[in-house]
Amino acid sequence: MQKNTRLNSGHLRQNRESNKLINLLIMHMNSDIKFIHCAIPNINFNDISILQKMTFYAGNSQKRVSINCSPLALQVSFNPDLDNRLKLIKLKKTTGISLFLSSKNTKILFILHKNNIIKKRLNSLSIIKSEDGLDAAKAIRLKQLPFLNDINKINLIEKQLKVVMFLTNSKNITQLARAPIIHLNNLTK
């Protein structure tokens, strides 16, 4: 019992320390939610921004850096490390995506920052495969990372994400992360 407590408190300490970093691992989505509709959103659709500010520690210097990027991650079939840096740069140019996952190793998130690749180990946050913008919005609301593996769906899912944000009166990702919801798994069947 004591051993488990030590392990648990160590785990909690690690989570608190890395609170602003993205810690991800693949999990089956076992928590479903429903957004509450906002009948009079206070925003114009075109003013909505899906860019999310992410802050993390880079390199051995532990320098804190911030980027504004799409909240979606793209899962690629190749290993997104330094050997394929140019591939990632090209993908970012064409899709706007800065976050990458490898289909071969799902425990590491690759962040493209100023043409450099930063690796973050995925620890406790889930990554959720998003088939549409509603999946992506739910993932964000649940503090999880939405990802997709079809490059052709990026624009559509980002547009659909904006739709959900419009209908929940969320001008930005920060507001979406606080939008009123119902936890469907907590309902009596």
């Binding site: 509450i36 509709h37 009079i40 959900v164 419009f166 119902i182 009596t188």
Partner: protein
């Protein structure tokens, strides 16, 4: 733009009638149980369902909800609906009158009070308020001798609409200004995706007279617009919205003025439950439109059956009047009760 508005009206009618455009999710009234009044048994013939609406006595706690107008083929629909409303002394709502502001030649399609003396609710979209002065809106209402104005809000429908207006930034401010400016009572209504307590709280701080739930569970305007939309990009929000019973309870918990329930109201049971939860009246649209297939007689026949059903339900509850119905005890069952708990809805302030 003008012709587009008018032709869209007809498209909406045809799509509604010829396709399955109902929500799959229910209106959630099946999760409300009413406890019969502990009194002598009432027979149906003793039940009086007359009540007040906008301060005037009406024959039943139902009204014909907003549907149409703005195209020459919609005139007869509105006239038939008005004839039926007159027969039973119930109110009627008009569809959006934007078309008559854009083209005054279409005003006649809304002018049913020329023929029948009924309580008439005018209509304009909240997204259109930015385009018109309050004096134009008042003139629009004067022209059809409306008794109040419904301002409909429909962000989900606009999103799904190919030509949708997505500029809602000043929508609430415009609604507030309009309610301040015009002499008519203003009622905010959704078109089928429901109104939450958060929105109702904001409306509480304005001069808006009433809120109509326009909840999910009946006609699905997202589905109707998706038929007009050649892509399937918006299919993913097809079941989006707050069910009518949930919306009614959320609104009533924070808004103390008039509340009406619309959205999937189909039976006498739905009506008595909504009234018992605090709705002043219930709006019905699609069944009336479908009944119009047989003209005004079809609509009258439908209303007569519904009134009969309401009285039957009230007799089972031992309620002889709408006032007695409003004081009935009720229970809210799962999953709706769980939803309301999560939403922190105070049920003590419903009535």
């Amino acid at each position: 733009m003008k012709n587009q508005t008018s032709s869209r009206k007809l498209e909406h009618i045809n799509l509604s009638l010829n396709n399955n455009v109902q929500f799959k999710i229910s209106n959630q009234f099946e999760n409300i149980s009413l406890l019969p009044k502990n009194s002598k048994t009432i027979v149906q013939s003793e039940v009086d369902i007359s009540t007040l609406f906008l301060g005037r006595k009406v024959g039943a706690p139902i009204f014909i909800s907003a549907m149409t107008g703005g195209h020459e083929k919609t005139f007869q629909i509105n006239k038939n609906l008005a004839e039926a409303a007159d027969e039973f002394n119930i109110p009627m709502g008009l569809g959006s009158q934007r078309a008559m502001i854009e083209n005054s030649n279409l005003a006649y399609t809304y002018d049913v009070k020329k023929y029948y003396d009924i309580i008439l609710l005018g209509n304009i979209g909240i997204a259109q308020l930015a385009n018109y002065k309050s004096s134009q809106i008042e003139r629009m209402l004067d022209e059809v001798h409306a008794d109040a104005l419904c301002v409909h809000t429909n962000p989900a429908q606009e999103i799904a609409q190919p030509e949708g207006n997505l500029g809602f930034k000043n929508a609430f401010a415009n609604l507030k200004s309009l309610a301040d400016a015009i002499d008519y009572k203003v009622i905010l209504k959704e078109v089928g995706n429901g109104i939450s307590k958060e929105v109702a709280e904001k409306v509480n701080r304005t001069k808006v007279y009433g809120i109509d739930t326009g909840g999910a569970g009946g006609t699905n305007w997202i589905a109707i617009e998706l038929f007009r939309n050649y892509s399937h990009d918006m299919d993913f929000i097809k079941e989006w919205g707050i069910p009518t019973a949930q919306s009614l309870i959320e609104i009533k918990s924070v808004f103390k003025r008039s509340v009406t329930a619309t959205g999937g109201i189909r039976t006498g049971s739905d009506v008595v439950k909504a009234i018992s939860l605090g709705a002043e009246s219930c709006g019905i649209a699609m069944p009336m439109l479908k009944a119009n297939k047989h003209g005004s007689n079809g609509i009258k026949h439908y209303i007569a059956r519904l009134i009969d059903d309401i009285k039957h339900e009230m007799s089972l509850l031992n309620c002889a009047s709408i006032e007695e119905l409003k004081s009935l005890k009720f229970t809210i069952n799962a999953p709706l009760s769980d939803v309301l708990k999560q939403r922190n809805i105070d049920l003590n302030h419903l009535r």
